[in-house]
């Protein structure tokens, strides 16, 4: 598999504190990589090292196949765009002037300015200065900034933090569009897992500076169990039927039970009816990415 970025034993120490502890991460080309972790887990530190804003203490990484020790790293970085924490924009300039400044930095003409502003939905902001933008608008301007270089790889650090529901949808749609229409590989760090699960094709879970697991969305779907909740008049009768069917289950109370294995509802209900067990309620729930993550890191508080 071709990786846009891969790291090996990446470490970052601040005196005695280990912010990153031997991180191995692999972002496949074309993926939307969800970088999941709690606040302070080390997501931003990792991103700052990859983007060159901060320096690693140990380990190595490759960006577009270029080693971090290579003098070619700067040119590999020119294929990358990023928004680290808060968007880095000129607050006393308009959206258009901001993008023009970035065009100057990249030595590009201004022909792309209108297209980029339209893409992020800021084409009609006119003479409004960036300092008067809403949080969502600033976030989108930050993304627009990173798109000027026509990047193949986009790194977004908490892009939906603090956004209202409408803003979240807009950013999500924008990212999907960038990934599907332009083929841009995206790494998004976030702790808003519900939102991330709507976008990501791959995941990396980080906790206390350590990489806990890397998985594809398919693997997560497989692992996240589908649970059927049953409320009956007598779970002892239900237990007999489930045993007979070879199902994986758990009796919760005299009337409630959870079934973890895949079942077809009609035969189960018919068998329960034959056994004299009355089914009062059946509901199905998918284990969320959130609960999967919590289980993975071993609880809410460590």
């Amino acid at each position: 598999m071709e990786y846009v970025i891969q790291t090996e034993g990446l470490c970052k120490r601040y005196h005695a504190f280990k912010a990153l502890d031997s991180i191995d991460l692999h972002v496949p080309k074309g993926a939307i990589y969800g970088f999941v972790g709690r606040n302070g887990a080390g997501k931003t530190t990792f991103i700052r090292i990859i983007t060159g804003v901060a320096f690693k203490t140990e380990g190595s990484f490759e960006l577009f196949g270029v080693k971090d020790t290579s003098p070619e790293l700067d040119s590999a970085r020119s294929k990358m765009g990023a928004v680290v924490e808060t968007p880095s924009i000129y607050l006393d300039m308009t959206a258009e002037d901001n993008i023009k400044q970035q065009c100057r930095v990249l030595g590009k003409d201004f022909s792309c300015v209108k297209e980029i502003l339209e893409l992020v939905g800021l084409a009609d902001t006119g003479k409004k200065l960036a300092k008067n933008f809403s949080l969502g608008m600033r976030q989108r301007l930050g993304i627009a900034f990173s798109l000027v270089s026509n990047p193949e790889f986009l790194i977004l650090d908490e892009p939906i933090n603090g956004l209202d529901p409408q803003g979240i949808i807009e950013v999500r749609e924008l990212l999907t569009k960038l990934n599907q229409e332009r083929g841009i590989t995206i790494l998004i760090s976030s702790h808003i897992l519900d939102e991330l699960s709507k976008l990501a094709t791959h995941y990396g879970f980080i906790e206390q500076g350590k990489m806990v697991k890397e998985m594809s969305a398919e693997e997560i779907d497989h692992v996240c169990r589908r649970i059927n909740y049953l409320t009956v008049n007598d779970t002892s009768l239900l237990e007999g039927v489930l045993k007979e069917m070879g199902a994986d289950y758990k009796i919760i109370s005299a009337t409630d039970a959870e079934i973890y294995s895949e079942i077809t509802v009609t035969p189960l209900v018919l068998k329960l009816h034959e056994a004299g067990c009355e089914v009062k309620k059946i509901s199905e729930r998918h284990e969320s990415l959130e609960s999967f993550f919590i289980n993975l890191i071993g609880g809410v508080e460590k």
Binding site: V53, S88, R104
Partner: protein
């Protein structure tokens, strides 16, 4: 680096405060000429000798303040608004970023110096007269020296702004210049009698060099002495060359926000 310089210069050109400061400098130049004119009128009976040479570099004493306020804002803003990240992320090396900042800083500082000197010259000639007072061979020397001083101030302010990476950096740069001058004076008093050491201190402190330059232009050939005439520009050059080298080395190892 050309791209970074173009970006920096565009930022300066489009900033209101850049043009406001230009007009303030012109206004202050006129004011100092008028003040000198008033002083001359008051003390004409005492045979005062106020002419254009008294004011031509008169604004140089305020340059370190202007330099700390305005060009530093373009540099400091890159750190406070974190826009410097955008340059690093898209593949510009830190060495190029530092030098691009410094070149923009130098350009703006020189622009202010030229504006102040030309305004003082024009207003001075028109109001005070005395064009012949500038007709000596030292004027070219003082012009070159003043440019070196401006570049040395710029290197120092840039260096401190890069270290502090906040608005306070520009103010601290100004305060450091003043403090160096104060400590220099104390050291000179303590070393009274050791002429060479006193001269070296005068050369090492930019504000003291500025004072000497301002004195020298009105009494060419007498002061500073020939040793100082060589040593002062060399010390200014040392600032211009050494501080960016140290600054880049530090910047290349610094984690940014």
């Amino acid at each position: 680096m050309k791209r970074l310089i173009s970006e920096g210069m565009a930022k300066a050109r489009n900033a209101k405060r850049f043009w406001i400061c230009t007009w303030i400098l012109i206004g202050l130049s006129l004011l100092q000429v008028l003040l000198n004119y008033a002083v001359e009128k008051q003390s004409s009976a005492l045979d005062s000798n106020v002419d254009v040479s008294s004011v031509i570099f008169g604004m140089l004493g305020n340059q370190s303040l202007f330099m700390a306020i305005v060009p530093a804002m373009f540099v400091v803003r890159d750190f406070t608004q974190n826009t410097v990240r955008n340059k690093i992320i898209c593949g510009h090396s830190r060495t190029k970023i530092y030098f691009a900042h410094l070149i923009c800083f130098d350009a703006v500082a020189l622009f202010y110096h030229i504006v102040a000197t030309l305004s003082s010259l024009i207003f001075g000639l028109a109001i005070l007269g005395g064009a012949d007072s500038l007709a000596h061979g030292y004027v070219a020397y003082y012009c070159v020296h003043s440019v070196l001083l401006i570049l040395a101030y710029a290197s120092m302010t840039m260096f401190i702004c890069m270290l502090i990476r906040g608005v306070s950096g520009a103010i601290i740069a100004y305060v450091i210049n003043t403090l160096l001058s104060t400590f220099g004076m104390i050291a000179m008093l303590a070393l009274n009698g050791h002429d060479k050491l006193v001269d070296l201190i005068t050369c090492a402190v930019l504000d003291m060099q500025t004072s000497l330059l301002l004195e020298g232009i009105t009494s060419p050939g007498e002061y500073p002495n020939s040793f100082m005439r060589v040593a002062m520009p060399l010390f200014a050059l040392a600032y211009i060359i050494a501080l960016p080298i140290i600054g880049v080395r530090i910047f290349k190892q610094t984690d940014l926000k």
